[in-house]
């Protein structure tokens, strides 16, 4: 069943259809929020808020929209709110945000790669970070990212370029520093 079909059923009151949608998109939401916020626990809270808001706003959802961009628009807004809310706490714990600490350690190779990405993105402001993740991480088109973030396509291209340069420089620096 497509997202659109599930949404139609969910709007008609089928809560099971909405949980099917959640099962389908939860991982993508959590991944984006975790990389955007740099905090796995906070990311889960934000995703939870996003899903609840989406569920309560289903009546305003229009069928011509695609579900995932619509959901991501809510998610991006929640991430922005959460980033502002926890700004003070982030400042206090900035010293702890060493590469790898942003996303919980699980002792796997995946952890190594994730931690390198987290470390390379360290220092990126939220707007550059979200544009970079949506473009390079989720592989969305600029027009789609524009609808999600509310920014213009030229502004997004500039943000992605700057963020990419920043992340790549740090990434390669970390590669060079790795023990051989």
């Amino acid at each position: 069943m497509t997202d659109a079909e599930l949404v139609v059923r969910a709007v008609a009151g089928d809560a099971g259809a909405f949980t099917d949608l959640v099962a389908r998109h939860h991982a993508a939401c959590l991944r984006f929020a975790a990389h955007q916020l740099g905090d796995r626990i906070e990311a889960e809270d934000v995703v939870q808020e996003t899903l609840l808001r989406a569920y309560r706003s289903l009546s305003r959802y229009q069928e011509r929209q695609q579900f995932r961009p619509w959901l991501f628009r809510i998610l991006v807004n929640r991430c922005r709110t959460a980033a502002g809310r926890s700004h003070a706490r982030r400042l206090r714990t900035a010293a702890e945000l060493t590469p790898g600490s942003a996303i919980a350690r699980d002792g796997t190779a995946a952890y190594e790669l994730r931690s390198r990405l987290a470390g390379a993105m360290d220092g990126l402001d939220p707007l550059h970070r979200e544009a970079f993740l949506l473009k390079l991480g989720d592989g969305l088109e600029y027009e789609e990212i524009a609808r999600i973030t509310g920014a213009s396509v030229p502004a997004l291209k500039m943000r992605v370029k700057r963020a990419r340069d920043h992340v790549r420089a740090r990434w390669e620096e970390m590669e060079r520093d790795e023990p051989r």
Partner: protein
């Protein structure tokens, strides 16, 4: 593959590596949504039976009730009118409490019976019969009417309704017919 594309793929790969606890987080999320759905259903069900759920101020309730009654009466009257049913007789008298005796004279050639109907006798054709004058087709009656504006008509042989040709017509139609107007009292005139 050029180095830029290779690096982009590496970043995408890092980004898509599963996050630990992902499945548990999803289950927690779904459980939370199910609770929300249950709570919503419960709230909607309670709306019908729990008076605390629907709070309405007494004044708002009274105004709403009045509006419903007025709209209902208006709609009912419209429906009755659309079905051709006679509307109830409508009095247009503006009364002052004082009375004056008024003589009604009506010429009805060939009639065997004539009566006066109006807002003052409940539009009853049997309430106020006219008496035939000694000279032919003229019928008369004398009625004490309160000062004010009255609507009236004559009924010939119990079936034909006729306004008074010597009086102005009322702007309203009662029983689908035209009535005449009469002002009783010194200070009032049409």
């Amino acid at each position: 593959m050029n180095p830029d594309d290779r690096w982009d793929d590496e970043v995408r790969d890092a980004y898509h590596r599963p996050i630990e606890g992902e499945a548990q987080a999803r289950e927690r999320g779904i459980a939370r949504l199910r609770r929300e759905a249950r709570a919503r259903r419960s709230r909607m069900g309670a709306w019908w039976v729990d008076p605390d759920v629907l709070r309405v101020r007494p004044l708002v309730f009274a105004a709403s009730l009045l509006a419903v009654l007025v709209i209902g009466a208006w709609a009912g009257a419209r429906w009755m009118a659309s079905r051709g049913a006679p509307a109830p007789p409508r009095s247009i008298a503006t009364l002052t409490g004082e009375s004056t005796a008024v003589t009604f004279v009506f010429r009805a050639p060939g009639a065997t019976r004539v009566s006066l109907v109006g807002d003052f006798n409940g539009w009853d054709p049997n309430a106020t019969p006219l008496a035939r004058a000694t000279t032919g087709d003229v019928w008369t009656t004398r009625v004490s009417l309160e000062h004010g504006l009255h609507a009236y008509a004559f009924v010939i042989d119990g079936r034909d309704w006729a306004p008074d040709p010597s009086a102005p017509l009322a702007p309203v139609t009662t029983f689908g017919r035209r009535n005449s107007l009469l002002v009783v009292g010194e200070d009032q005139a049409l």
